[in-house]
Symmetry: C2
Subunit: 317 residues, 2 copies
């Protein structure tokens, strides 16, 4: 296939082309980078909304109902569901299928689950790239669903325009444990499963914590909402608030977030490319094997080995 | 201070020198690398034990009692408590203080909490380095306590010699959600808070899942134990099993894990050094600023920018 032909099909909104490119991104196929270059001028338009919550908070059901609400508002929706990779979960694929079925006949919805294994930061990188594909496809809103623990997820939500944090009643202890940081990223807090005992108490606890922050007159003041996602209760109010936050961002804050995304992507890509190219060259000329042997025998420490390798691939200063 | 003087004090087991070096590692002070080089020949002796469990499983109390058991067995203990960084937790420091008090008069115990912020992979890197410091100090056992979600934590436990996974009764759903991966890393499974209803059921569910694995005759067969950490019940049996796993590893598997640790450290260090040096050079000659401006105006895509930057710092191929 001609270079960027895939990208052109994605821009036309072709679902199969988008799915193919996402697979290439996941598999870290290098041609994906050329396609992403071609997509770049078509990105930067989607409203990226992070939906963060622990397992068991009903986050996926909530996402499902948010999709429904946006569709009724005639907006197209992309979803990236990020399950922490690996040893610890295997749930991504099943969840995908269940939700795919519900929206499978709706061309205005595209859902993709991610459970990337692989090196550090891989999850964050893939997520950003897949958000860009959905954005370039023309999706109005891109929901990024994460469990919100771990540095990768933190990176992910940091780059969303709007962040929704999902809790359930009786998570008082958990709120205490996470309070220092959760306040920094949440724009909207949702107490889901609000028919359970203790919902109002959890709402109050959240509000008290939020009141302790010092907001300036121009700052967004986080809101706390109750939902029963399974009965669609409170979901319209939630989507209203997400929309209100988007309006609050305006042109200036929106563009600031876009710039941060692009700079972050540049730095991530540079880091990856340098490392990949260095490994390739070291392997080609045999230094890699020599270093690995010395390290295995513990006759060389890993820091000195890295310095030697670096001197070999960089231009003399 | 003369280079590696700090390292020499660490090797002599001086607590203040170790604390100082750990701070330098956390703050990513570049002289820390020189100290780690000097420590390298003194590492590779400690038994590294991962203790992984969700918040609320009583993991920290369990760690506390494991320490007590090892101390009665005349073994010295280091602990690295990894709280996922960031926006989402702020619990590290408090937990540290509480536990510090209990063992503060015991010179055979050194506890360090980590809640590193910063770029991707930072948590994993710092943890490895701090494990090395505790190892070089002469600690017999190093416990690494993590919540076990996120790629960083996965990296961390992958490099432990022995992995203990902590659950509580009634986590049936959670077991289902995590089953695909958790079996791969757990050497010992602990159902803590075993006085609660459903403990035996959770034990059986775990055993059934483990039985579905195909173990070869030479493979370690994971064990499932019940504990009530708060009453020290089952803790001695747990430490017995950790010791049994260490014996099982023998010389061959132990050395394999050590080699994987050293190779991993080399690759992480190379990746960091290349990136840091590249940024430094790009800033010095003004290309960085030019690229940032073009990216901000969206007149250049981040992938092409990264390629241009790379061509600038690498030797011509």
């Amino acid at each position: 296939m001609r270079e960027s032909q895939l990208a052109e099909a994605v821009i036309r909104g072709e679902v199969r082309a988008a799915a193919r490119l996402m697979r290439d991104i996941d598999d870290e196929i290098s041609s994906a980078r050329e396609e992403l270059k071609a997509l770049f001028p078509y990105t930067g338009r989607a409203h990226i909304v992070g939906i963060t919550g622990s397992p068991g908070t009903g986050k996926s059901t909530l996402v499902d109902h948010i999709i429904q609400s946006y569709r009724q508002r005639k907006r197209t929706v992309g979803v990236v569901a990020v399950d922490p990779t690996s040893p610890f979960t295997g749930g991504a694929i099943l969840g995908d299928r269940v939700r795919m079925q519900r929206h499978s006949t709706d061309e205005g919805v595209f859902i993709r689950s991610l459970a990337t294994r692989g090196h550090l930061g891989g999850l964050s990188r893939s997520t950003h790239d897949i958000v860009d594909v959905l954005d370039a496809m023309g999706k109005d809103v891109v929901l990024v669903e994460t469990v919100g623990v771990g540095q990768d997820e933190v990176e992910i939500v940091r780059l969303a325009h709007t962040n929704v944090v999902v809790l359930i009643p009786g998570m008082g202890d958990e709120i205490q444990a996470i309070k220092a940081g959760i306040l920094e990223v949440g724009d909207i807090f949702v107490v889901n499963k609000a028919d359970r005992e203790g919902a109002d108490k959890t709402v109050r606890e959240l509000e008290i914590m939020l009141e302790m922050n010092n907001y300036g007159p121009d700052d967004w003041r986080p809101v706390v909402l109750k939902t029963e996602a399974i009965h669609h209760k409170g979901v319209e109010e939630l989507v209203d608030q997400i929309e209100r936050h988007r309006e609050f961002l305006g042109k200036r804050l929106w563009e600031e977030k876009q710039r941060a995304r692009v700079h972050g992507k540049f730095m991530e890509t540079l880091r990856d490319l340098l490392y990949e190219e260095a490994i390739k060259r070291l392997r080609e000329n045999g230094l890699w094997e020599k270093l690995m042997r010395s390290l295995g025998e513990r006759s060389l420490d890993p820091y000195s080995a890295a310095e030697e390798a670096m001197a070999h691939v960089l231009r003399p200063d």
